[in-house]
Amino acid sequence: MDPRDILSIVFLLAAAPFFLAGTIGLLRFPDVFCRLHALTKADNLGLGLIVIGLALQADTWLQSARLLLIWLLVMLSGATVAHLIARTALRAGRKPWSGRS
Amino acid sequence: MNAVLLTHPWSIWTIIVPLAAAVLAFLVPRRAPLAGIITALSVALFVAATAYRIFLAGPHIQLLGGWQAPLGITLRVDGPALIMLLTSGLVGLTVSFYAAGYFTAADRQERRQQHYFWPLWLLLWAGCNALFLSGDLFNLYVTLELVTLSSIALAALNGSSAALDGAMRYLMAGLLGSLSYLLGVALIYGAYGTVDLTLLGQTVRADGLSRAALALMTAGLLLKTALFPLHFWLPPAHASAPPPVSALLSGLVVKAPLLILFRLWFEVFPDTATAGMAHLLGILGCGAIIWGSLMALRQQRLKLLVAYSTVAQIGYFFLLFPLARGEAAATAWVGVFLLVLAHGCSKASMFLVCGTITRLAGHDRLTGLAGAGGTLGARLLVFALAAVTLVGMPPSSGFIAKWLLINAAIVTGQWWYLATIALGTLLASGYVIRVLSLAFTESQSPPLPIAPRILRWPPLALAVVALLLGLAAFHPAVLTLAGAPVSGIILLEMVP
């Protein structure tokens, strides 16, 4: 097996836990602020690992660049949205979970 | 000159001109009424040219984009389309003149109505003409949506709570109807790989899939044309819209899905549709005639009465399905198409009269109109003139149409349809006389001002045209059969 393939497989397989963690976090974390963490993990790392895994397989640099662009866009949107949602939740008077409740 | 007259695709201009005028009316609202009137006159001219071409050179098919049928879209310029175009031309021309007088820029609210009426109406007109000419199932869907959406916007035009609710009900019924129709189209495309009416007519198999598709499309179109018991949305929408809009909705718009139904049942699926399905539509038609007329008798407001009368009249059109059989086929076909023309003119005229009366009296409650006499009495006489056609008294076109339908019922031995037509006529006379009797009660109310000329003449003209069409019914009758899916002799004399 081509070492590039092995590397790809490693990256792709590594991505799965992040998405699972994102979902489980979404389900299990106590409040909206914590859940934001879950979301951003999936965005940044899960998708990032997939992008890297696939970019290794790409035939041309252009395809890899396209993949990277998609990742960057998702991260950019994710960060902005996370910030705005957190701000909305704060202004709506929700207190971040402090671990005591 | 004649060569151009007989070869130029006149009919497409009945679509293109209103489309372009709608854009101009939207861009320059102050000049919108002018654009509307010019469009109305030119559309009437193009319809006349189309009629001339069909009369001399016969029905024809127009390719769009120069592509042949399964790939491109075709327009069918034939008899049935022409009768619809004639209705559209007559009603559209008259209502345009009336609307130019009705919508004035008196205040802010009225100016808004005036500015938006024209682009919406011109788009509606283009949609109607496009639908009447279309020979392609999917294109029919797009045109139907153009018609429905503009009708909805027009129904909501005056912004009153009742109008908004009526428009919303209309919208929901319209969406349900068009999506159901579209699902039928999808199944048809899946089965036959084309949506062209002519090609489908040659290839359709009478199997369960075709029946399912036909049932879906028919159900959707029944909802759109408001056949009893799916008529719930029509009276509120038609009665709460501004009068010129009501005239258009009742006189023109309900006929659009009707033509698609006729084309589907007689051209595309003549063998798929069973006699039982045809009778079901006929029975629903009878239900509409009786229920609509009874409801019209009960109404307390003039506009609602006229709206329920539309529910009843729609029923007559559906008698075509069981009646167009064997040797009576051509008779019933011509009868129903004449009725479409007659009803279009008379009903539009009646709604316009309602508008003038409401303008004068400030309301349209029947009790409040009692003893109106004078100015209102003259308006009610126009109403009566239009009602002559609606009820079907000689020598109006309505009379000839019903006469043909009765003949068809006798020839095919379906007496119960004859009985329903007779009962419907009786009930219609009932609600018309109920209105007219108001004019002849003693006058107690103070005299009202005379309506401006532009609000008086258009309804009268339409009523007179509807009446006189009866004397000249031969030409439309012959034209109706040009390229129609049925043929045979028209049985004018009673043959029991």
């Binding site: - | 999917f138 869907y141 797009v142 949506e145 959406l149 909805i152 916007a153 909501a156 912004g159 709570s161 908004l164 609710d165 428009a167 919303m168 009900r169 919208l171 929901m172 969406l175 349900l176 999506l179 159901s180 579209l182 699902l183 999808a186 199944l187 495309y189 899946g190 790989g193």
Partner: protein
């Protein structure tokens, strides 16, 4: 080819689900959502049908669905504007039912 049949069936069920929602619920926004779901079902039938042809899928239903999507968006936006207007005029988000008129 069985996959396309799965999607065709799913499309038909979506259409009927949407029909149920449109008829059964009073809230206007819900009705609009239901109509959109109906539309999606119809489009799914179109696309599934296009995928049945041998070789590349048939482009004509794809074009028809694009047209249909645009028309649906047009209807949705007008319906929403109308619903907002009704809410502002009458302070309700549903159409008056029969029992309500009596009350």
């Amino acid at each position: 080819m069985s996959v396309s049949l799965v999607y065709t069936a799913a499309g038909i069920i979506l259409f009927l689900l949407g029909t149920y929602g449109l008829v059964a619920y009073a809230h206007l926004l819900r009705k609009i959502l239901a109509a959109n779901i109906m539309g999606s079902g119809v489009f799914m039938v179109f696309i599934a049908v296009a995928g049945r042809t041998p070789g590349a899928p048939d482009p004509v239903p794809h074009a028809m669905v694009l047209t249909g999507i645009v028309v649906t968006v047009a209807f949705t936006s007008v319906a929403l504007a109308l619903a907002v207007r009704i809410a502002r005029t009458s302070n309700r988000a549903h159409l008056p039912g029969r029992d309500e008129e009596q009350r």
